[in-house]
C-alpha cells in the first residue's frame, strides 16, 4: 500500500512545553486513521504540522512525497477541517464555498451544490452562515473539505456539534469516501466515531504517538483499545 503521508521525528515545543516528541508514522492510501487522545495530548498540533500551518522544531512531513515547508507550503491535494470551521458570517454557505472554490478554479457551482447536498444542507438556503448552528457550520466545513474531491482528508473533530442523525449521515459519507480510496485522518473524542470508521487507531499521549488498533490486520474483529478516550 502506498504511503501518502509520512511523518519523521516530528518535535515541537511551545515555550517549555514539548507538545510533539519525535513523532514518526506513515499513513497509507485508502485507509481511515483515527487519532485519539486526551485534551492537550497533541492531536491538533500534529494535524496542523501535517497541514503545514505549524512549523516543527525538528523533523519532516512528506505528503505525496513532497516535503511540507520545502517542496510545498501546504498539502496540495487535501481537504481539511482544523478546529471550529470559520466562514464569512455575512454570506450564505453557498457563497462562502464559491469564494473558496474560485481559488483553485477546479470546480463549478454544480459540484459545490452537490457537496452541500451530500452533507445534508440546502445549497439554496438564504440564511447567512453567522446564523448557522454549530452543527450546520460543521457540515459546511465538511462540504468545504470534500467539494474538490481531494485524495487526502484531514479532519480535526469533524463531528462536533452534530446531532445523532447528522453523525450517522457523516459516517456514511466518510465510509463512501474511503471506498473511493481516499486517505482520511480523523480525530475524535467519540469512541463510536472511531469504532465505526477507523481502520487504524493511533493514540497521542503527552506528545508521543503509538498505534493501538490495526483493523487491517484484525479484519472482522472489534477494535480494542483502552485509555485512549476521555
Amino acid at each position: 500500500m502506498r504511503s501518502v503521508i509520512k511523518v519523521e521525528n516530528l518535535s515541537l515545543s511551545f515555550g517549555d512545553e514539548q507538545v510533539l516528541k519525535e513523532v514518526s508514522y506513515e499513513f497509507n492510501e485508502g485507509l481511515i486513521y483515527g487519532i485519539v487522545g486526551n485534551n492537550g495530548s497533541g492531536k491538533t498540533v500534529l494535524m496542523k504540522c501535517i497541514c503545514g500551518f505549524l512549523i516543527p522544531d525538528d523533523g519532516k512531513v512528506f505528503v505525496n512525497y513532497k516535503q511540507i515547508g520545502k517542496d510545498a507550503d501546504f498539502p496540495e491535494d487535501a481537504g481539511i477541517i482544523i478546529e471550529t470551521p470559520g466562514f464569512l458570517p455575512n454570506m450564505t454557505g453557498m457563497t462562502n464555498l464559491e469564494i473558496l472554490a474560485s481559488l483553485r478554479g477546479k470546480i463549478g457551482k454544480e459540484t459545490i451544490r452537490e457537496a452541500i447536498l451530500k452533507v445534508g444542507l440546502d445549497p439554496k438556503l438564504k440564511k447567512h452562515v453567522g446564523k448557522y448552528s454549530l452543527g450546520m457550520r460543521q457540515r459546511l466545513g465538511i462540504a468545504q473539505a470534500i467539494m474538490e474531491d481531494p485524495a487526502i482528508l484531514i479532519l480535526d473533530e469533524p463531528f462536533n456539534g452534530l446531532d445523532k442523525k447528522g453523525v450517522i449521515q457523516m459516517h456514511q459519507l466518510i465510509l463512501e469516501l474511503k471506498s473511493q480510496k481516499k486517505t482520511i485522518l480523523l480525530s475524535s473524542h467519540s469512541q463510536n466515531d472511531i469504532d465505526v470508521l477507523c481502520d487504524i487507531v493511533c493514540e497521542m499521549d503527552a506528545g508521543m504517538m503509538h498505534c493501538i488498533v490495526d483493523r487491517t490486520k484484525e479484519k472482522g474483529e472489534k477494535p480494542v483499545y483502552e485509555g485512549a478516550m476521555p
Binding site: L54, D73, F74, G86, L100, R104
Partner: protein
C-alpha cells in the same frame, strides 16, 4: 502567473468581506471623520471670521501638510489593523488552496487598498467639512494668501507657507500630500506587519509606537537643545532631521522646492518605495517560518 495574481487579489478581497457590519471598521471611519472635523475646525473658523472663501482642497492641505496631523491620522490605523496579520477561522481553508507567498502578498495588497480607502475617506471628509465656504478652481484662495503672507498661519500653527503657495497649486499640493501620507502610512503598517509575523502582535504594535515616536522626537528643536547647538546650526539640524525622520519625509513643506538642501519630493518617494519593497521582501521571508494560529470568526 495570472492565476497567482487572481489568488493574491482574492486573498486581499477576502479581508474586505469582513468589513460588512464590523463595528471596529465603522469606529475607525467615524473617528477619522471626527479627527478631520477637529483638525480642520481652526481653518474653517479662520475663513469664516475673515469672511474669505477657500479652495476645496485647502482644508486637507493645511491640515495634513503638518506632521502632527499625519501622525494622529496614521495612529488611527492601528485600530483598522488591530486584527493583523488577518488570520481568522476561515484562513486554513484559504491556505490549503494557496501558498504562504500568495497569502502574505494578498494581505499586503489588502493593506495598500484599505489604506488608500482610509486616506480617500479622510480627503473627502475634509472637503465636505469646508465645502460650504469653498470653490473648486485650481487657484489658491484669499484665506490661503492671508495665512501664508501674514504671521497668522504661524499663530494658528498651520503649515501654510509661502513656499507651498508659490511652488505649486492646490490640486497638485493635495496629490503630493496624499501620496506622502500614503507612503508614510504604508511604511509604518508594513513595519507593523513584519514584526507581527516575526515576533507576534505585541511586537507589531510596539514597532509602530517606536516608529512614530522616532518621528515625533526627532525634530530640529530637540536636536538643537540636546546637542546644545548654536542658533546658526538650526538650519543644518533641520536639514539633517528632514533627511533622517520618516515623519518629516511625509511632511510636504519639509521638502526642497529648488533652493535648500532638504530632500526633494522625488527623493522622498524613492526612499519610501525602497523601504516598502524591502519590507515586502522581509515580510515574505519571515512568513516562511510563520506558525498560523487560527481563531473563530462567527459571533
Amino acid at each position: 502567473m495570472f492565476k497567482k495574481l487572481r489568488m493574491v487579489m482574492e486573498a486581499a478581497f477576502y479581508n474586505f468581506r469582513f468589513w460588512k457590519g464590523n463595528a471596529r471598521i465603522m469606529a475607525v471611519f467615524i473617528l477619522s471623520f471626527i479627527l478631520c472635523f477637529l483638525l480642520t475646525d481652526k481653518i474653517v473658523v479662520f475663513a469664516k471670521a475673515h469672511e474669505t472663501t477657500m479652495q476645496l482642497m485647502e482644508a486637507f492641505i493645511w491640515t495634513f501638510g503638518d506632521s502632527n496631523s499625519i501622525l494622529l491620522s496614521s495612529l488611527l490605523l492601528l485600530l483598522l489593523y488591530a486584527d493583523m496579520p488577518f488570520i481568522t477561522g476561515a484562513t486554513p481553508f484559504f491556505l490549503v488552496r494557496a501558498s504562504r507567498k500568495t497569502w502574505v502578498l494578498g494581505q499586503l495588497v489588502y493593506i495598500i487598498l484599505s489604506t488608500g480607502i482610509y486616506l480617500l475617506f479622510t480627503l473627502i471628509s475634509t472637503c465636505l467639512l469646508c465645502a460650504p465656504y469653498s470653490f473648486t478652481k485650481n487657484i489658491w484662495s484669499q484665506t490661503a494668501a492671508i495665512l501664508a503672507y501674514s504671521e497668522e498661519g504661524k499663530a494658528l500653527v498651520l503649515p501654510a507657507s509661502v513656499k507651498t503657495l508659490e511652488m505649486s497649486r492646490p490640486y497638485q499640493s493635495m496629490m503630493s500630500i496624499f501620496m506622502l501620507m500614503m507612503l508614510y502610512v504604508l511604511t509604518m503598517v508594513f513595519i507593523m506587519m513584519v514584526f507581527n509575523i516575526w515576533k507576534g502582535t505585541v511586537a507589531g504594535v510596539l514597532s509602530v509606537l517606536v516608529f512614530s515616536s522616532y518621528g515625533v522626537l526627532l525634530n530640529p528643536e530637540h536636536l538643537q537643545k540636546l546637542l546644545k547647538l548654536p542658533e546658526e546650526f538650526y538650519y543644518k539640524a533641520k536639514v539633517f532631521i528632514g533627511w533622517i525622520s520618516p515623519l518629516n519625509h511625509a511632511t510636504y513643506y519639509m521638502h526642497n522646492f529648488g533652493y535648500d538642501k532638504l530632500p526633494t519630493l522625488r527623493q522622498t518617494v524613492f526612499i519610501f518605495i525602497g523601504s516598502i519593497v524591502f519590507l515586502t521582501l522581509l515580510t515574505m521571508r519571515v512568513t516562511k517560518k510563520f506558525s498560523f494560529v487560527f481563531r473563530g470568526t462567527e459571533s
